[in-house]
Structure formats: C-alpha cells, structure tokens
Point group: C2
Chain length 413, copies 2
C-alpha cells in the first residue's frame, strides 16, 4: 500500500504539472487542440514516455504513441486518452487517462524488470470545442476522417484544421495515410473521469462502461408561409414557428419515453426573417440525438421524424431533414468489459456498470479492436469545469483495477 | 358620372406621380420616413395643397397639414393618411388616402365655389419599418410619443429619430410642443387600401372599419439550466427550449380559440448559447398580440401569461415577461362609422363592416376626436408589395362615399 501511495502521489504531481500548461489562476485549464499549450503538453508527454522506456511516435494529426520498445509480432495492449481540453476545462478530463496509462507501464516495468507489451496513447483533438468535431485523432487512425474534413472543419477564427495542423508543426499532407488496418492493438483501455454525478451519487469509486452513446446531429428546416402578423388570420396561417414548437415537444416526449436509452436536445433555433410582427418563412432547429445500442433507442430517429412529418403535414408545413453527422453507438467489447468487472471485484470495489453519454476515443477505437473504458467518480459531479475533482484513494483504485485488467489481458486464458 | 371619371383620372395620375418619387423599375416604391424621397413627397404634397387653396403647415415631426383658409372657431373635418412607405412597398398604401382627401377638398370647393371647412393631413412616419415604431406623426400630435423616443428609436444604421428629423430639415427640438388638446378636429376620416384579401374575396368595393386592433409586444425570457447534451438525463432537465415550445403552442391555441378577436404571433426566438450539444440556459421569444375591443380579446394577454406561467412552473423554468409596447384597440366613433355606412347605402354599395388588424393613424387620432376609416378593396390581396392594386371604379366609389360622409358630417343633424 505504501508503494501504491507513491504511485498515486506521482500521478497527482504529473496531473498538476500538466495543468500548469494552459492553466488559469482559478484552477481551470485551456489547452485547445493544436494551440501552443497543446503542443507543449505533447512535448511533455513525449519526454515522460521516453523516460518510461517507450518508443515515441507523434503522427501527422498529433496523436502521441509510446510503443513498447521490444518489437514483437503481437499487437500491444493500448492504454490512453487525450490531453487537449475545452476552454476553461478541468485538469482531469483526458489527462487522468493518459497519466494513469503511463503509470501502469512504469509500475509493470518496475515489477517485472522489463517494459511490458503495453503501449500508451494520447489521441489528438478529442474535444469538439475547437472544430465542432470530436476525436479527430482517433477518427484519423480508424479511417473515420474524410478527405474534405481538413478544409471543411474551421474554428471560430476561420482557421481550417489543415492550417491548425500546419501551425502546430504537424503534417496535414500525411493525414490521409494514418488509417490503420483493424487489429493493430490487442485491446484498448481508457480510464476517464466520470463526466456526471452518477458514480459520486451511488457511492462507487469506479464504473465499467457498458456502452458509449452514438451521437447524431440533424438540421430540421420548417418552411411556412411568411405573412404580416396583422394580415394573417389564425385559421389561415401556415406557421413555421408553431410547427417547430410542436416538433420540439415531440422530440422531448419520444426521448423521455425511450426508457433512458436516448437523450435528444434542441440547442439551436434560427428564425427567418426573425421580426416580431412577421410570421416566419422558415424556422431551423439543430437537433442532437444520443442513443445507446439498446431497445428503447431502436428507430428513435425515424420514429421522431415520422411523427413530426405527420404533424407538419396537418399544418401544410414542409420539413426538411439534413443529417449533419450520424454516429453509431459503441458496443463495448465483452472481453474487456468482463475483465474490468473481474478486476473490480478482485480489488474489493463494486463491479458497477455505467453508460457513457459523452463521446470518447474508445467509441472509434472499438471499430478496430476490443475496447473498453473505466470511469472514476467525480467529486465535483461536473465536467468541462474546474470543479472536476478526483479523490486520491479513488485514483489508487483506478490504478489497481487497470493493472489487474492489463495483467489478465496479457495472460492468455 | 363623366365629372367623377375626371376626378378618378386625376387621382390616378397623382398616385402615379407620387409613385415616381422613390419608385423602382418593378413598380414598387421605397419612400422610407425622413429620407430624401419622403421629403420630396412632402414638398410635392405642400404644392398640391396650396393649389387647392389650403393653408399649409409642416410641423416639427414632418406632419403635413392643409388647413381650410377661412379661420373659424369650429374645428375642421380632417381627411388624410400618410405618404411614407415600407421598403419596396406598393403605390396605394397611405398615398391613396391622402390624394383622395385632396380630391374631396378640390371637388367640394369646385361645387360650392368656396374651400370647405375640411382639412387634409399626411401624418409622418406611419410605417414602422424604419424605427420599429409606427405612426410617429400621429402619436406626436396626440401626446403618445414620450420624450426619450427621439434618442431611443434608431434605424438599422444606428441613426436616431432625432438625427433623422434633423437631416430631413425638421425640428426635433420642437417635437415635444406638438401635442394638441383633444377636440382639435371635428372628425377624422381615413381612406386606405385593404391590406388583406377580405373585401376582394367577398366582392365588396369598400368596407367601413368597425375596429382597429390594438398591438402589444412582449419579450418572454425562459430561464432554464444550461447543461451538456450528453450529461443531462431527460428526466432531470430544466429545458428552456421545451418550455418555450410549449408557450408557443399555448399562444397559438388561445389565439385560435379567441373567436377571431385576436391574432398572436411569435416571430422572434433567440437561444442562449445556441450550440447544438448544449441544453440552452435561456430562450427569448418575441410575441406580438393584436386584439380587438371585443369579448374574445378580453384578458387574452393575462390568460396566456397565466397558462404559460403554470406550465413553466411544472418544468422548474422561470419566465420573465417584458412589455415592449402595449396598445389599446381603437373603438371607432359610432357617429363616423354610421355616417360612412349610410354613405355606402346612398352610393348603392353594400354597407360592409370590416376589422383592421394593421395599425393606422386613425388608432391614435381616435383618442382626440371622432375617427373612422374606410378601406377600398385590393385586387392584389397583398399589402406592402408592388402587387397592391385598386380598380378605377372602386376608387370612384371610395370618392363618392367619402364625399357623402363629409357632407353629412358638415351638416348639423
């Protein structure tokens, strides 16, 4: 236990060290992807990996890999997460998973006197806050970044992803070569801080992720008949605003009825022309649906779409559906999930399963090999905020569970 | 009849003459208040009034009066409307009423060989399109312009009403002196093109206005709990967007149930922060209510407000109501209305009554003396558009009815 106290102290020191890169006086951190702070964090990580005896590789999109040095034909177990943050984020999101991964490698190496067949990875640009698309690094290596994305994705200042990569000293021209063949890792394990209150409120130090919600985004455009507010009688209106309002309530109702398997959010509404005495010609809604690979979520999008189409037809309003992005939910690998649950039990903590509604790199990795996640409870209950907080004793449990799981996965059953 | 053909021809010529001031090649007219075209139209009108033997006065806010020259202690009957337009408006809106008024004075003078005790007025800035407030001229003379309005009201370019008046050669410093004592006119009669399809569709050449809807505008702000779309479960949300949607449908339902006495429009919605994966912190709706002085409209605003408050309370959403402007509906003078109806019957056309949902200067004049309106059918069925159109034979009927009504009103019963 004294040994593990030392490990926890080292991780905490490293998390605090990293939080100084892009850190603010109030304890929050801004390490937006491909900015100077993000590049500095990448360099910090490369140094730590080399100290741990790993062979480092920074790829064209900014993913940082620390490979086990003894080249072997067997693909390694991969542990990791990301080190970029949202603006004013907390110090644990992503970082915790990367630093813990590093620690697993170091402690296994110490114990076994050789660097284990375990790699560490920090995926680039996991947060969607700069370019509106999340997990750019893990998408790139799993072939889920399309060629046009480098020009299409722009930040608030109009800087394209290509320009951002260039200015961070990376190689946008090589990004298309990053796609790997499935099976390049034996298993992927990601540790992460819980982004909601669930583990804290249920008193569980860790939770094994059983599913990651798929995220789909739609633009719904309601075409009504523009009219002067004083000229159109109530009974004669083709009111795009009322049609959109009805759609918002249909979305809310269907999601609430979907047995906890779906969340659906309308976060955007644009009105054309948007004048107080003009019945709108057009109302545009931005809809996001997060769905689990479970019964209640089946056909959710098409069910909502049909009901809205039906209601708008009654109003003689046409509605146009544009899919901005469609994401499948991730079925977590049974092997990894069960291994983590066993490791929990062996470590003397409840083997609790949990759903991840936010996206993670593991969602994309899951398409290339057995992938799983373990969340550690968040004392602050909030995410993307300086109030994120992890207890040292929970960190110790996370480390122990991860060590046991890696050990099981390395040992042929 | 040959005589009246000539009068109609003269009015049509003058309407076309005026339509050249600020006119576009496609037949539409842009004579925004206090622009050069508007000032030119004012000068054109002063010349026509003087030719007709009227004593002209352009007041500080740009109202143009043509007073009967024989000063008398009896207040005159006032006929008129306005000559400003919306951007790309039609050539009849406002202009028709002013030019007909001029024609009534001219034809009465011809017939009686003396200028009758009838004044002509063109109220300034009737259209709300430049400053977001309508009927600025008639508000000023009836004391319904508040001192701060000259600075508060701004156009799209940030030009204040004060600056606009100054640049049109008018006298913003004198505007506060314009308020008159009620009773300064014996009766006010406004002729206007119908702004909707009602007269055209019912086959009535003219309609006597029985009420002008009052217009009230509100800003409704729904305060919810901002949250990441992936972190907030459906059952735990305080969703400002869904609360606003429910409010829109309550407004629609109550207005539709209000027995044709109310129209209510939500033409504006603003979402804070307005990001597709963020449950909004705040949704702001712009609501306009137009209500008649009739049973169905009584307490409409407070009824809607209560129902919305009730529903939002269930959602733990707070809603803030700000009154942007509150307008009472105008009860049209019974004397003027009945006189116009009698004049219709005497002229051999149906004595049809009609409601005016758009605002008019008569709404404000009605607070200072007996006021009424007569609408002439609009072949184009649309308003604020170049397709506005009036048949010459309908113009002739309008003139005849107005002449008879003025005659009755001049003659003590």
């Amino acid at each position: 236990l004294q040994q593990s106290d030392l490990l926890v102290a080292r991780i905490l020191r490293e998390i605090h060290e990293l939080s100084q890169i892009g850190g603010h006086a109030d304890g929050s951190v801004t390490r937006l992807a491909y900015t100077q702070a993000d590049t500095e964090a990448r360099m910090w990580l490369v140094n730590r990996m080399e100290e741990a005896g790993l062979r480092t590789e920074v790829d064209a999109v900014g993913n940082v890999f620390g490979w086990p040095p003894n080249s072997s034909t067997d693909p390694p177990i991969l542990l990791g997460s990301h080190v970029d943050t949202v603006p004013g984020g907390g110090m644990y999101d992503g970082t915790l998973g990367v630093v813990s991964a590093l620690e697993i490698v170091r402690s296994l190496a110490d114990r076994e006197n050789r660097v284990p067949p375990v790699g560490v990875v920090s995926f680039a640009c996991e947060e969607g806050s700069r370019f509106g698309m999340s997990s750019i690094g893990s998408r790139a290596v799993t072939g889920q970044l399309v060629p046009g994305d480098l020009e299409r994705l722009k930040d608030r200042d109009g800087i394209t992803l290509r320009q951002a990569l260039q200015s961070a000293g990376l190689s946008p021209k090589e990004v298309h070569k990053l796609q790997r063949a499935p099976g390049w890792f034996r298993a992927y394990l990601e540790g992460h801080i819980d982004q909601g209150p669930e583990l804290e409120e249920t008193g569980c130090p860790v939770g094994v992720v059983k599913a990651i919600a798929g995220v789909s985004r739609y633009l719904l455009t309601f075409h009504g008949a523009q009219a002067h507010a004083g000229a159109a009688r109530m009974g004669q209106r083709r009111d795009a605003m009322a049609a959109a309002a009805e759609a918002i309530l249909i979305i809310e109702h269907e999601a609430t009825s979907a047995a906890e398997d779906v969340v659906a959010t309308v976060g955007v509404a644009e009105i054309v022309p948007g004048i107080i005495n003009v019945l709108p010609a057009e109302v545009r809604l931005g809809l996001e649906v997060r769905a689990l690979p479970t019964a209640g979520a089946v056909n959710f999008d098409s069910r909502v779409r049909e009901r809205i189409q039906d209601r708008t037809a009654h109003r003689q309003i046409t509605v146009q559906w544009d899919t901005l992005s469609a994401g499948e939910p991730a079925r977590i690998s049974d092997v990894v999930r069960k291994t983590l649950l066993v490791a929990c039990t062996e470590s003397g903590v409840p083997a609790r399963e949990i759903v991840s509604w936010p996206n993670h790199d593991a969602l994309f990795l899951a398409t290339h090999g057995p992938s799983g996640m373990i969340l550690v409870r968040n004392r602050g209950k909030v995410s993307h905020h300086r109030d994120e907080s992890v207890r040292p004793e929970d960190l110790q449990i996370l480390l122990e569970v991860l060590q046991r799981a890696v050990h099981h996965l390395m040992t042929p059953s």
